[in-house]
């Protein structure tokens, strides 16, 4: 079989953490969830934008949400659970809140593990 792109170095590697943000459109493209589903997550307070960036285009101000890129990890997990368990859209906010809570608790557990 033919091997493609042998020994190419990936220059555009993004670490998904709090130092890198993604725009709302990027999150839609990457998450596997629809615009409406993501909007609902934000409106329900399950997904919190890092900041709002305002740009001007043809004398019109456009506001765009930006999210810390680490949210992509839990939102993709949510998207997989929705697909594989055929979940209803209105349960997604609740599940994301629990996923984030589990992530925080696991982090705290890791700290306690290291410290003991």
């Amino acid at each position: 079989m033919k091997t493609e792109n042998t020994n190419r170095i990936w220059p555009d590697l993004i670490v998904l953490n709090e130092h890198h943000t993604l725009s709302f459109d990027e999150l839609i493209a990457l998450s596997g969830l629809s615009r409406t589903e993501l909007q609902q997550l934000v409106e329900n307070g399950a997904l919190n934008p890092e900041h709002l960036i305002e740009t001007s285009f043809k004398n019109t101000n456009i506001s765009t949400w930006h999210f810390s890129s680490h949210h992509l990890v839990s939102v993709r997990q949510l998207s997989r659970l929705k697909r594989d368990f055929e979940l209803e859209s209105n349960s997604l906010s609740l599940i994301l809140v629990f996923l984030e809570r589990i992530r925080e608790l696991e982090k705290q557990l890791q700290h306690l593990d290291g410290a003991n």
């Binding site: 079989m1 792109n5 670490v15 998904l16 659970l81 700290h111």
Partner: protein, 323 residues
């Protein structure tokens, strides 16, 4: 081609209704879904379950699968002549036409995985319908482990993997890729990285999928890592703890001298600032040396004599609060 018994995988009979198939799939998904279970084999097992469900929940795919006949799991087999043709009762043409039309090939099914075959099910059948429909390429995840030493200074990873891709004839084949990924210093354990446009190819102008790289740290013989902080067990003798001493402690950036104050306790953490893992902003986490009081495995005569004397003269009672 190796046979996979999708009914056995989903733990249902061959006459199961769609509701029974769905119910069993959901039960197994709760047990093995990689986002739910801690079972290290969960991901592999769920892949099989998902593959079986994707085929059996679809009426046409299930009919085509049933037409393959019953074989033992893992058994080499060939689909019967005209399998998947318009005679499957659905009258919509041959969904596997692209395989059977490979002229000059001994057996076009030889290097095909059953999953890839069914993933390709509608390609031939609905090619005309989907000709103008853009489809985004699939996302993939890769896992790689690096040492703490490499994470401390940044490293490169040589990654080799295969992803299923459609060729010019519309056949799904595993295509090998080989890339070098630069891992910057400052990553933490379980870091996820995004490689845009390195996943499966899109169809009909659809964008290429993405690749996610999950970085974990290999276990280290001395250090435990929590985010950017490191922890090391620091064994000291009871008399070093009682009297105080200075010990040499290894760090990822070389050794340091650490002063142990008199009266140190077992489990006490000594913080050595900026000797942990690097952070993205140029800062460093800290190293925590955790005091572990250890006794010599065998006491010499003079050690025993001195300890006996200490026992006789000491009035310290660590269990005074019991009284």
């Amino acid at each position: 081609m190796k046979f996979k018994d999708y009914y056995e995988i989903l733990d249902v009979s061959r006459t199961a209704t769609i509701d029974e198939i769905k119910k069993s799939y959901k039960k197994l998904a709760h047990q093995y879904h990689p986002d739910v279970t801690k079972d290290p084999k969960g991901e592999e097992k769920f892949k099989e379950i998902g593959e079986a469900y994707a085929t059996l929940k679809d009426k046409e795919k299930r009919a085509a699968y049933d037409d393959l006949g019953k074989h033992g799991a893992g058994e080499d087999f060939r689909p019967p002549p005209n399998w998947g043709g318009s005679n499957n009762g659905h009258g919509q043409g041959n969904p596997f036409g692209q395989y059977s039309q490979q002229n000059g090939q001994q057996n076009p099914y030889d290097d095909i995985d059953l999953a890839d075959l069914f993933a390709n099910f509608y390609t031939g059948k609905r090619q005309s319908q989907s000709r103008n429909q853009a489809m985004v390429g699939q996302d993939y995840e890769l896992a790689a482990s690096i040492s703490l030493e490499d994470a401390n200074i940044g490293t490169t990873l040589d990654l080799n993997f295969s992803v299923p891709e459609q060729d010019a004839q519309g056949l799904v084949k595993q295509v090998p890729h080989s890339f070098i990924a630069r891992i910057p210093k400052g990553v933490t354990n379980s870091t996820k990285m995004l490689l845009r446009g390195k996943g499966g190819k899109g169809f009909n102008g659809g964008t290429t999928g993405n690749l996610y790289l999950n970085i974990s740290f290999l276990p280290h013989k001395l250090f435990k890592v929590v985010e950017h902080d490191l922890f090391i067990d620091l064994p000291i003798t009871p008399w070093e703890a009682a009297l105080g001493t200075t010990v040499i402690v290894p760090t990822l950036q070389g050794v340091v001298n650490l002063k142990i104050p008199a009266g140190s306790k077992n489990g006490q953490k000594m913080r050595i600032i900026k000797r942990g893992m690097p952070k993205k902003n140029g800062e460093h986490g800290d190293l925590f040396a955790v005091i572990q009081l250890v006794m010599p495995p065998n006491l010499s005569d003079s050690e025993r004599e001195l300890l006996t004397k200490l026992k006789e003269i000491s009035s310290f009672n660590p269990r005074a609060h019991f009284e």
